[in-house]
């Protein structure tokens, strides 16, 4: 059986959830599929309060925003959710296939599709980086913030971007010791408010340092770090071994764009957005008219901007389907103004420069 649906959202993170809400409010029937055990994407693992303004739920903790959005979604009768459902293919006739619970094969034929699949983590290629005890940052959050499991006793964080800084702090909240945050760049990549919390807790943020090797029998036992010069070369004599049982890799993300490729959307490589990203217009519509994009799949940014991009895309999709939205222009402009003001900082400027290559 093919499910004929007006709107299919692939990915139940902040972008997908907010897009679904926008369309539901405009009276559109929405089906959302997500491969996680729980809806909410990375939001439900976040214990810190968000920035920005009211639109992005500033001052509210990430997991609470996730709960809020979930409750709102399920209050709509015309919302249908398929959990533990992985989109597996996009076909020429517009059919999206998906696998539910690893058993049931589903087919959807939507009139309009949102691809809000998020991102995948970049790995770290050094000797013994595959030993148990080396985790992607997301996995550390999953263990400690969703399931209450201590990921380790003594952690070493690799990467001082927002994710590295935030999770280093979350590790402390979970009761794990953090030896250091190691960052190859000469400066801290994330917001200083997060960095300050780490520093106040007495954890060194070692910029211009990198991890070169991991050792351990069956699991991680220690790691070597070294200072790097301005050409990223290790400085001899600065090597140091640190005892650790948990190496958390937070060295960046790359957009999860398999479905966009499969669909044949025009893509461009934009380093400032994390990799290959879809060309889109101001409605967040890709070069195939019934495909929209939002969130990290459209370029690595943060949850607050994913919320706003989701709102823009959801509104655009409802409009694409011909829903009556009296104040469409007003809302569209409001979300863009919010997004632009959110992007006005130094990190946002980088994003804006990247967007020049793909936003028409």
């Amino acid at each position: 059986m093919i499910h004929q649906v007006p709107m299919l959202v692939i990915g139940g993170g902040p972008a997908g959830m907010v897009a679904a809400l926008q369309a539901l409010e405009a009276g559109v029937d929405v089906v959302l599929i997500d491969d996680g055990i729980e809806i909410g994407g990375q939001l439900i693992k976040q214990t810190h309060k968000f920035f920005g303004s009211e639109m992005e739920y500033a001052g509210t903790r990430g997991f609470q925003i996730g709960n809020l959005l979930t409750d709102k979604l399920f209050s709509f009768d015309n919302f249908k959710y398929f959990g533990r459902t992985t989109a597996t293919g996009f076909y020429e006739d517009g059919v999206v296939t998906a696998l539910k619970d690893n058993k049931e094969y589903l087919k959807f034929k939507p009139e309009v599709i949102l691809i809000a699949t998020g991102a995948s983590e970049k790995p770290l290629a050094i000797p013994n980086c595959d030993l148990p005890g080396v985790y992607g940052a997301g996995a550390v959050q999953t263990l400690m913030n969703l399931y209450g499991v201590m990921p380790g006793k003594k952690a070493l964080m690799i990467g001082a971007g927002n994710i590295g800084l935030i999770i280093a702090y979350q590790l402390l909240q979970a009761g794990t010791e953090v030896s250091a945050v190691v960052e190859a760049m000469p400066c801290i990549g994330g917001y200083l408010v997060h960095a300050s919390k780490i520093r106040r807790a007495g954890i060194p943020i070692m910029t211009s340092h990198t991890i070169t090797e991991i050792e351990g029998d069956a699991c991680v036992e220690r790691a070597q770090i070294v200072r790097v010069d301005e050409n990223w070369q290790p400085v001899p004599g600065t090597e140091k071994w640190i005892d650790t049982d948990l190496i958390c890799v937070a060295v960046g993300l790359t957009p999860l764009i398999d479905l966009l490729w499969m669909a044949g959307c025009e893509m461009k490589y934009v380093a400032k957005l994390g990799g290959e990203v879809p060309v889109r217009n101001k409605q967040m519509q890709a070069t195939i008219p019934n495909i929209f994009v939002a969130g990290d799949a459209a370029g690595i940014e943060e949850a607050s901007s994913a919320i706003l991009e989701g709102a823009i895309a959801g509104l655009g999709m409802a409009n694409f389907l011909g829903a009556e939205i009296a104040d469409y222009d007003e809302k569209h402009n409001k979300y863009w103004n919010e997004l632009n003001s959110f992007r006005s900082g130094p990190i946002g400027q980088r994003i804006s420069e990247g967007l020049k290559f793909v936003l028409s």
Binding site: F63, S120, G133, G138, M150, Q173, C219
Partner: protein, 101 residues
């Protein structure tokens, strides 16, 4: 090991259930990923790499990396980071690529 006191989060655990890992009895909470329950029980090595037999553990937690493929109730290649734990599950280390049931 579970987190004892968290300053922000209150964990709502499911029903406590018994399962086995390599024949050894263990406990976890119903509905949580099998991999999380194993981690809580101190099991770090979830599989061996096929060629070089290197130990592999919990890595991505979203079912993408295949580092946690195990044999569960006789079925091979179960992604234990995204498979909910149930009462009485029989979890084993898988040999090589596993076998079809």
């Amino acid at each position: 090991m579970r987190i004892k006191n968290h300053p922000i989060l209150k964990f709502e655990f499911g029903r406590k259930v018994k399962f086995t890992f390599e024949g050894k009895e263990m406990y976890g909470y119903e509905g949580e990923p099998i991999g999380a329950a194993l981690h809580d029980n101190g099991v770090m090595v979830l599989r061996q790499s096929i060629k070089l037999k290197r130990p592999r553990g919990f890595f991505c937690a979203i079912g993408h990396c295949s580092s946690c493929l195990m044999e569960v109730d006789g079925e091979s290649n179960v992604r234990t980071c995204v498979e909910p734990l149930k009462e009485g599950m029989v979890v084993k280390l898988q040999k090589g690529k596993g076998t079809l049931k």
